[in-house]
């Protein structure tokens, strides 16, 4: 299932599918390593704080607005069920 990075619970892994948003923001995200196919691990995700991810060996904090622009697919066996409530 595809969802935005902002909706991925902490502790889950996902693969980037697409990055939406304006040209500048998109490029920035892509070049930080959040390009389609990259694996991300969500470390912290608590509203209204930032979403903290680990991608390509680097930990980074994204504002919720930016995180919403990154569409990801949860990896198999990740907490899909738990989150479905």
């Amino acid at each position: 299932m595809i969802r935005s990075l902002a909706d991925v619970p902490a502790g889950s892994r996902a693969v980037v599918v697409e990055v939406a948003g304006g040209r500048g923001a998109k490029r920035r995200l892509l070049e930080m390593g959040l390009s389609p196919g990259s694996r991300v691990e969500v470390i912290v995700n608590g509203f209204p704080g930032p979403v903290v991810v680990k991608v390509r060996g680097v930990m980074a904090a994204l504002g919720r607005g930016l995180a919403a622009k990154v569409l990801v697919k949860l990896e198999e066996g990740e907490r899909e069920a738990q989150h479905g409530v």
Partner: protein, 692 residues
Amino acid sequence: MACERAHFKGAGSRHYRVAVVGNPNVGKSTLFTALTKEIAHIANWPGTTVERKEGLIRVSGKEIVLIDLPGIYSLSGISAEERVARDFLLTGQWDALLILVDSLAIERTLYLAVHALELTGRAVVALTKWDAAHKQGVHVSISKLESELGIPVVPVSAVTREGIGELIAKLLQVLEGGTKRPLKVEYGYLEKYISELEKELANVSLPFKAPPRWVALKLLEGDEHISMLVRSAGGEGVVRRAGELRSLIVQFTGREVDELEIQYRFNFVDELCKAAVVRKRVREEIGVFERVLLSRAGAAASLLILLPLYLAVFTFNTGFPLTLILRVVGAAEVAELLESSTLSGLISGAFDGVAALVRESSLPTVVKSAIADGVLQGVGLVLTFLPLIFTALLILSLLEDSGIGPYAAASLHRFFQRLGLSGRAVYPLLISLGCNVPAVMASRTAPDEVERRQLVFSVPFIPCQARLVIIVAFVSVYFPSPFVAVTALLVTYAAAFALFAFTSTIIRRFYGIREPPELLIELPPIHFPSLRVLWWIAWDYTKHYLKRAGVVIFGLSLIIWALTSELGVFAAAIGDVLSPLLALIGITGEKATLIGFSLVAGLAAKEAVLLSISATMGADPIDALRSLQLTGAQALSLLALYTTYMPCIATVGTIYKETGSLKYTVSATAWSLSLSLVTSYIVYILASGLNL
């Protein structure tokens, strides 16, 4: 190939130029300092506040000049830093590149390296932070990387100095060697379009130095700057064709060319890493400390760390705010003792001592005044800021280098976003409450050029401790009842803060940006920083303050002395110049002259405002202030004026140092002055309306 022509030029001489390229946080400043004991040249990149450093390496009778390019993620030219770096690379005024790759984050930092290697093969890659790589379970096959990239790769550590000698040797080899082909990345689907444009480019003589394949890709992705340059060189046809091909690609793939390009390049990086890097997961969980800083309580936790640190810095340097607390509880003597034994107190005490000796000497009066009140005051003024700058910036680098800074910035971002600033603005804001001079310098932590300018313009509105003294004096004389006094104090700070926020927003708008900055920040693991590095950085800043800001501050303080010296012809006239403005708030005659004079005197240092009033009235500052017999409305209006009217000359000098531009310095000063005048007038009208 166009790019290689420039390289021959350097090959014969013994003076080589090497540009240093790397991501932010890759360890560039640290390595730069480890490589070059001598900073040869420091300035700003033209038209920016981005600093340009050059360092010199002397090796076997040859000189290598290292040119420090700003830390960037790519060469796409989105930010000012990227434009600076890219534009410089395109000038071809370098003989080789030193490209830094973070051994702790190879999968990400190799991206920029690959991007740069597509521009030239005359390069050496340094794998930084090598001392930490093994500890973190990172193993790299250097020979594999070298053969795939086609250039020397040297693991280095600025901390243990491992690899530093070899890096310089390899660099020299490349510099003295022949030309080398740039790296070729496979762009899959884009390849046929790239080669078509590449062929067409053969007929265009490019006004910059880059391989045609590189230019072709830039044209295909629609890079405006490169397109413009190619068009101006008679390549309209190629640019038009690139546009057609781009629409074609978007139609077929549903993706922008730059998206595809970035992905292909990352694919290349991934393949490379698969072959050359083994990462054993040592620790994937983040620490408790990091977790707290990122939690809901993160903002509070960050302030809990930052506040005491900066309070300590200021107490150590000037006694503030401890002295204020002591005075409030009635221990004025202890406060004075403390003040005179702080660093600033000791320095100004020493200068006062020397000045007193000069005054007692048998020199002619004018000379005595010039030396004691002009030269010594000026030098003293410059020097009293030194320990403050050094310690404030030491703490700043401590926070940044330990990794705490980025976490604090992330957790505070939400609040600053509303002011059009990022979480990093917390440093300049906090520091400015003590002193605007190091605060203006701290604006360098801003994530981009626009925010840097927002801060440089707006930070001087925050009342520093010297202005707090004025505020307290005004309030205690004119609004003595405790409740009113506290309210007046808070309102003044709130108003100053509002001016700060207003200015910051206006400047952002001025650069055509409407959206607040989005948070996107790297979070390095928190670690104990290298003390040597902290020392280097803080000392570097202090030295450059002394060199560049010091001269300006000294010069300005001489001018202020010439204007305000009771011996000079200006002293009487200077107050009158400002009288018409003061008449607006109903202050006329002798009082206006006196206040006008104090405003000019206050430019040297804000605390001089009170001193000048009391010197003229021959009473202690509080009595002098009382005998001005202002109405409530006038007092409030003057309070607003004194609090915000203009950055003191030390701040002006520092703004000049940081922006490197007279235009910015003058406009920041003029902006502050006009906004302050308008505000004071509005305050007067409002307060009069309220019958204060």
